[in-house]
Every structure is written in C-alpha cells, then in structure tokens.
Symmetry: C2
Subunit: 210 residues, 2 copies
DNA sequence: GCGAAAGATGACCGCCCGGTCATGTTGACC
DNA sequence: GGTCAACATGACCGGGCGGTCATCTTTCGC
C-alpha cells in the first residue's frame, strides 16, 4: 500500500527510476528466480547497482516488495470473485488464475515453496490470501459444490502443489498444470469421501534457523 | 549400477572414504538442499575438499549420484508392490513412501522441481520410475479403483506436487502432506469425472538454456 | 620392510555475489 | 541561472563458492 507514488516531494527522475527498477526486478525475478543478482536487475533497469540499493536497502527488501505486489494482485482477484453466483466456478477461476501466476513467476514459486519463510510480510500476506480464499471456499461449501473439510488455506497451498506437479513438464508442455488442476478439483468435489486426515493449517510457521 | 564396490584393486582407505563421502553427501543434501557447499560435505565426511573432487569430478556428478541412489530406491519400492492383490492399496502405499522420501530430502525436492533438468541421468531415472509406476497404475485402473485417464508419470509427478502443497507448513506440521495425499487420491478415485484436459506427459523435456 | 604408485591434503585461484562510499550529476526552488 | 540538497554512479570490499595442484601420506605387492 502507498506504493505507487510514495512520500511527497520526490524528484521526478527518482520516481521514474523506481518504476524502471520495479519493472525490471519483477521481470528478472519472474524469469530467473530469487537467485538473480542485483547487478543483473540493475542492468535490466538501465541503472547502476548503487542506485538499486538506494531504493531498497537489501535484496531481501526488494524481493519482498515484488512478492507483496504479486500477492496483493491475487488477493484482489479473490476479492472480486466472492460475489459470483456460482461459488464453485468462482473458486475454480481463482485457482486457475493462481496457478497461472505461479507458472509465470519462478521467484514466486521459490518463495512460496520455501520450508521456512524468512519474509514475515510475505508470510502474513499469504495468510491474508488464505482468509480471502476462505470466504470463497465457504460459499462453495454451503452450496454443496465441494467437500466440507477443505479450508481457504488448503486452496492457497494447493496452488503451489498443482503448479509444482507440472513443473518437470513446463518446458515441453507449459499448460500441463491444467490437467492437475482438474484432477485436484475432482478431489475437492468428493463430497462423500472420508474426512481428510491431519488438521488443516491456518497460520504459517515462522522461519526457525537454517 | 555397479556402484557399491566399484572397479577392482582399489585401496582399502579409498573404499572407506567413498562410503564416508556418500553418507555425508546424502545427509547434507537432504538437510540443506543442493546449495550446500562441497566444503561442508567434505567436513561432514571428515575429509579434505580435494579428496571429494578425487571421487567426483564436479559437484553435479556427486549430486547426480546421490539422486540416482534415491530414485533407484523408489523404483525398487514400486517394483516390490506390483504383485500386491489390492492394486489401489499398493498405489497408495507407493505414493505414501514417495512423498515421505521427498519430505525428508530437500535436495531431492529441488532437483525434481527444477523447470529444466540438467542432469540427464536423473531425468531418465525419473522416466524409468514413471514406467514402473505405470504398471502399478494400470492394475489399479483395471480393478476399477481409479479413473481411467491417469498414467504412471502422472503419479510420479503428483508426488512432488503433494509434497510441495504441504511445504509451507513443514516446520509446524511435518505430517501435513498426508492431508493432501488423501485429497489427491480422492481425485484419482473419481472414476466418472470428465476426462482430464491436456494430454499426460511421458518423457521429460531436456534442459534448454536458462 | 621397502619402494613405487595411488590416494589424501589444504593452500591457493578466479569468479561472482551482496553491499558500501567517495565522487560526480541532476533537478527543484528562489 | 545559480545554489544546494538530493540523487546516481561504478570502483571497490570482504567473503564464499567450485575447482586445481604441488606436496605429503598411506597402502599394497613383492
């Protein structure tokens, strides 16, 4: 929030450079993953490395900003879908968009898929996304379209899993995730299956060490 | 193959050191992922770094050896299950073991989950695993226990997806993958669901560039 | 036991990374 | 258009990485 045009009285070129930087970083992280170097990002933006560190104190800060922007977009999508008549179709649409976003962004996958999430802002943004997805899921449950023991956080976590399933095929069949999305959705529809084992997660664990 | 006791006429300490190295590398990759340094592995094995490079010409070679050993274990598990009476139970058992192995090995997850697999031996070992899983899957299909449009490679790929789904919870709930294994299996059981979109993969794409 | 060959060692190399800082440049305001 | 603070720059730093190699140590056939 309060990102697009930050604090007042900023020089025009700084605002412009910030845009260049954010765009370049978004593309670089998406294509190359979190291990892309700050030098590469600077080069893509047409800036010097030092300038990048003037806008973001560390690589982690920059990565967090980009990830938050992505997560906010996803949360917005979910928000826009909560009023749909067919809740199951809305849920399906949300999952489609979610996996599409993941499939197009390597860094996003890597950050989401870390065993322990260092970036606390990202962690809570995911939890917020889980809550928004919960309202979507609850409506689909009430309409009897999906099983009763699936939560919003389940849905969010499943996005990463569905995409991951198709990752080994990504280069040859970029749309393969659709196959596994449908397979998973059929699992969600199993309304009279035995109750799922293991309680669902709500909050994500913080980073411990490593 | 022909790994345990390589070529004849090797010095006794070399054989011993090779064991120490393989054990240390297996543990280090499992705990720390592929980014663990060769120095760290050498230290864990109680060897000098140079010795590690005498046994394996590059880090990639060492990683490939460890991954192949893991994949062979999994293929062995699948092989042992093909004769079970209840094919669906056998398939379920195979998937349980597979996800357990993934959950216990960070490097394995990372290698399997790369968009493009550099290590060609690992790639073909996965394809072999897919073929073995196919015999398991075919029997479950014939028994009418699972839907008709799921292949062995689907099963193998799903292992990575199921584990990935639970990764964000791993630190707090190490068994969370069981929840998503059951959910996925319910999807596999949806015998009268509409046919899955997008054709299944059989072979994995080679690395292109990146 | 002894000699020679195979193996083990760790200092060393070049590379690239995230991050810093003295210096040069630019834009906003009067 | 002059002034100055804010901003941009890229050479530079310390550190860790994969990998090498001259040197020392161990094993094994005799």
């Amino acid at each position: 929030m309060t990102e697009t045009t930050a604090a007042p009285s900023q020089r025009a070129d700084m605002v412009r450079n910030r845009r260049l930087l954010l765009d370049a970083a978004t593309a670089a992280f998406a294509e190359c993953g979190v291990d892309v170097s700050m030098g590469e990002i600077a080069q893509r933006a047409g800036l010097a490395k030092g300038t990048v560190f003037r806008h973001f104190a560390s690589k982690e800060d920059l990565l967090a900003a980009i990830m938050l922007q992505l997560l906010d977009r996803l949360t917005g999508t979910a928000d826009r879908l909560v009023d749909a008549d067919d809740a199951a179709a809305a849920l399906h649409e949300f999952m489609t968009v979610g996996v599409e976003v993941l499939a197009a962004d390597r860094a996003f996958c890597e950050v989401i898929g870390r065993p322990s999430l260092q970036l606390s802002q990202v962690r809570s943004a995911i939890e917020r996304l889980g809550e928004t997805a919960e309202t979507l899921t609850a409506r689909a449950r009430e309409q009897g379209a999906i099983r009763g023991d699936v939560t919003g956080m389940d849905i969010v976590l499943l996005l990463g899993g569905i995409h991951q399933t198709a990752v080994p095929l990504l280069a040859a069949q970029p749309q393969a995730w659709r196959r596994y999305l449908e397979l998973t959705f059929d699992g969600l529809r199993a309304t009279n299956a035995p109750r799922l084992p293991h309680p669902p997660g709500r909050r994500l664990p913080a980073a411990d060490s490593d």
